[in-house]
Amino acid sequence: MSGAAGGQENSTATSARVYSKQRNFFKWAMLLPTIIILLILTIYPLLYMVWTSLHSWNLTKPQYGYKFVGLHNFATALSDSRFLGSVLTSLTFVVLAVAFELALGFALALLLNRARWYVAPMRLALLLPMMVTPIVVGLVFLMMFNGTHGVFNFFLDSLGFGKIPFLADPKTALLAVVIADVWQWTPFVMLIFMAGLATLPDAVLEAGRTDCVSWFQELWYITLPLLKPVILVTLLIRTIDAFRLFDLVYVMTKGGPGTATETLSMYIYVQGFDKFEMGYASALAILMLVMVNIVAQFFIRTIYVEESAA
């Protein structure tokens, strides 16, 4: 290779390296603000929470000091009957709420999955609960379930069934919270299922109708199997959300009567913001994070397997 050609090649390679470095620098410069915000708002608080969970620290009692206790908070949690009870309450709530939301949401989606004049206004009306702030939903249902003046008791009493102290009876208090949650989030499930139903291949459905399958056979053997990924995604989202429930419980029952509606989020709140035991509350929050992660991983892997099979 001649010197001039070799010099030209070196110059091109150098320009390419410089250009590549500039591109890298530009890329990182554009990403840097997002990374900083992520570090400040997500990574740092998470690491701080892990660090705090290894300490005994009461925010309002500085005289007790800030003591390193290792995994003592976690060990205490695993033998804390109130913590274990709150996990059970959360799981019970998740199973009840998500089951009702899935069933009702799917039924509504099927009902509205047709070209009729009433579909659009009904869909709009049914989406309204989703747009209300959860705290407001809690306050409204608190009044509606009131043992003396509530509208539900008004109708029950008018029909001769007498009044039920919904929020003061441990047998009905959790159910009341479930009803409030179902009222608010069924439209969300309905929306996802409607989107799923819209993507079902017409050819498959037509083939089924050609074979004179019944409505139930079409639903059971064609629609539901095709909707499996959508169902799994909906389950994932609603399960995580329902497990983290706080606002409805805080407004409607504060975890009572007794500990009948004390979900894990509520118990963490009590430890962190009533008792200001920041170390213990941080440990509980990490345990909750682990639990939610396990559930989420299960659903994600199942979805992944489904998609791979497809």
């Binding site: 500085p62 007790y64 009131n146 043992g147 102290p165 009572g256």
Partner: protein
């Protein structure tokens, strides 16, 4: 030349900025602006109306931030422990006294009070009302809105049925049963009584009231140490008494808390309610109450053979020890303006019936005509028990633990012994940490 121009430009721009942002609090020997943290009781509304008069008189601007009970304690405590000095004056409920005074978050007031003795008129305070805001013999707060527990009852129905106004706990329980339709078909009311039953501070406090009525003390000093004493025989008796009352209370008994208790008696559903005297306006307002003019007032019931010692509580004003001397001076100026017979008269005028901290207010015939429970309040103050909820710093832990355990007991999930043992264990752990 350019350097001089730059220097002048910086001075012209920055100095006015410094003057604008300089804290308004640091101006001369006394600050010109202070902030009070208040709890949402009637006194807060009365203070709102009174504050402009103080500002017109002294030029000191007073901001008031009002919170609900739970958040009131938390906000003030976090301000004190965190040193954020947002508030100059704290409103301290009697059971919080140890929590705020013991670690030194409040300014001792003895010297300042002594200098203003002629203005404050110490003899005008019933001793329990004044002493409730002392800690280890030092005065840290001045009574602002004192509360005492008493029995509210339907005097018309008691007279109609010839029932004696209850003095003892047994008489009270018998009267509850008499006025419950399910137990007595001839009862003029559906239920005998309503009381605090909501899980948390409400039901915890109700147990503390009955514990005191049976002679119990929740935390005692033994051999120089603090010992949790909730599962004493008196404490168990109090818990079982509450359980025994349940059939005489409305079905939503375990939802009721303070104001909602008064609603039950105001709507004529129950015949009696043991509650704080300061809420009398809820049942004597003819626009909101179906029983206005029909309510009688009596001392809080007590166990047979024991004297009546009604629970005393309510708020005192104290100065945040973390603020500057100028702010402390301004805060004291405000407090001493209120802490005299004329100041109290003004608060009563502005609708704070709980501002009756003094003999001169309680014995005033004009006020008694307006607040018919004041004669009983006067007697209650003189025999009151301000330690029925304990004032040791473990109060909040005790309230939290009892709030859950007593609720579980009322639901039938635990016996009185089991519930109180569980609560006592939590408090014992906290007391051990405090040593």
């Amino acid at each position: 030349m350019m350097t001089w121009i730059r220097l002048i430009a910086v001075t012209v721009l920055i100095v006015p900025l410094l003057l604008v942002v300089a804290p308004a609090y640091a101006e001369g020997p006394m600050a010109t602006e202070i902030t009070i943290a208040s709890v949402g009781d009637p006194y807060a509304t009365a203070l709102d109306k009174a504050i402009p008069e103080f500002t017109a008189l002294t030029g000191i601007k007073v901001n008031q931030e009002v919170f609900d009970y739970d958040n009131g304690r938390k906000k003030q405590l976090l301000d004190a422990t965190g040193g954020s000095t947002l508030y100059d004056i704290y409103s301290i409920d009697v059971p919080w006294v140890g929590e705020f005074d013991d670690p030194g978050y409040m300014v001792p007031l003895d010297d300042m009070i002594a200098a203003e003795a002629a203005n404050i008129v110490l003899d005008d305070y019933p001793q329990p009302v004044w002493d409730a805001h002392k800690w280890n013999g030092v005065q840290y707060q001045i009574p602002l809105a004192t509360g005492v527990e008493m029995l509210f009852y339907r005097k018309d129905l008691f007279e109609q049925d010839g029932i004696k106004v209850p003095e003892t706990t047994q008489e009270f329980l018998d009267a509850c049963k008499h006025f419950t339709k399910a137990l007595n078909p001839d009862s003029p009311t559906e239920y005998g009584c309503a009381q605090n039953g909501q899980k948390g501070a409400a039901i915890a406090q109700q147990w503390m009231s009955w514990n005191s009525a049976f002679g119990g003390v929740p935390i005692i000093e033994q051999d120089g140490k603090l010992v949790a004493n909730m599962s004493s025989p008196e404490g168990i008796k109090a818990a079982e008494f509450m359980k025994e009352m349940l059939p005489t209370m409305p079905p939503n008994a375990l939802e009721l808390a303070w104001d909602s208790v008064f609603e039950e008696i105001a709507q004529g559903r129950v015949a009696m309610a043991p509650q704080w005297a300061s809420r009398v306006f809820l049942i004597e307002n003819p626009e909101k109450s179906a029983v206005s003019g029909k309510i009688g007032y009596a001392l809080f019931p007590h166990d047979e053979g024991l004297p009546s010692r009604p629970g005393l509580g309510g708020y005192g004003m104290g100065i945040n020890a973390g603020v500057s001397d100028e702010r402390k001076a301004a805060a004291w100026e405000f407090m001493k303006w209120l802490a005299n017979p004329a100041g109290e008269k003004m608060l009563v005028k502005y609708g704070d019936n709980a501002a009756a901290n003094r003999y001169s207010s309680l014995a005033n015939c004009e006020y008694q005509a307006f607040y018919p429970n004041w004669p009983v309040m006067l007697e209650s103050y003189q025999r009151a028990n301000y330690n029925f909820r304990t004032r040791y710093p473990a109060y909040n832990t005790m309230s939290d633990a009892l709030g859950v355990e007593i609720s579980e007991m009322m639901l039938g999930n635990k016996t009185a012994q089991e519930a109180l043992d569980a609560a006592q264990a939590v408090v014992a752990e906290e007391l051990a940490r405090m040593e």
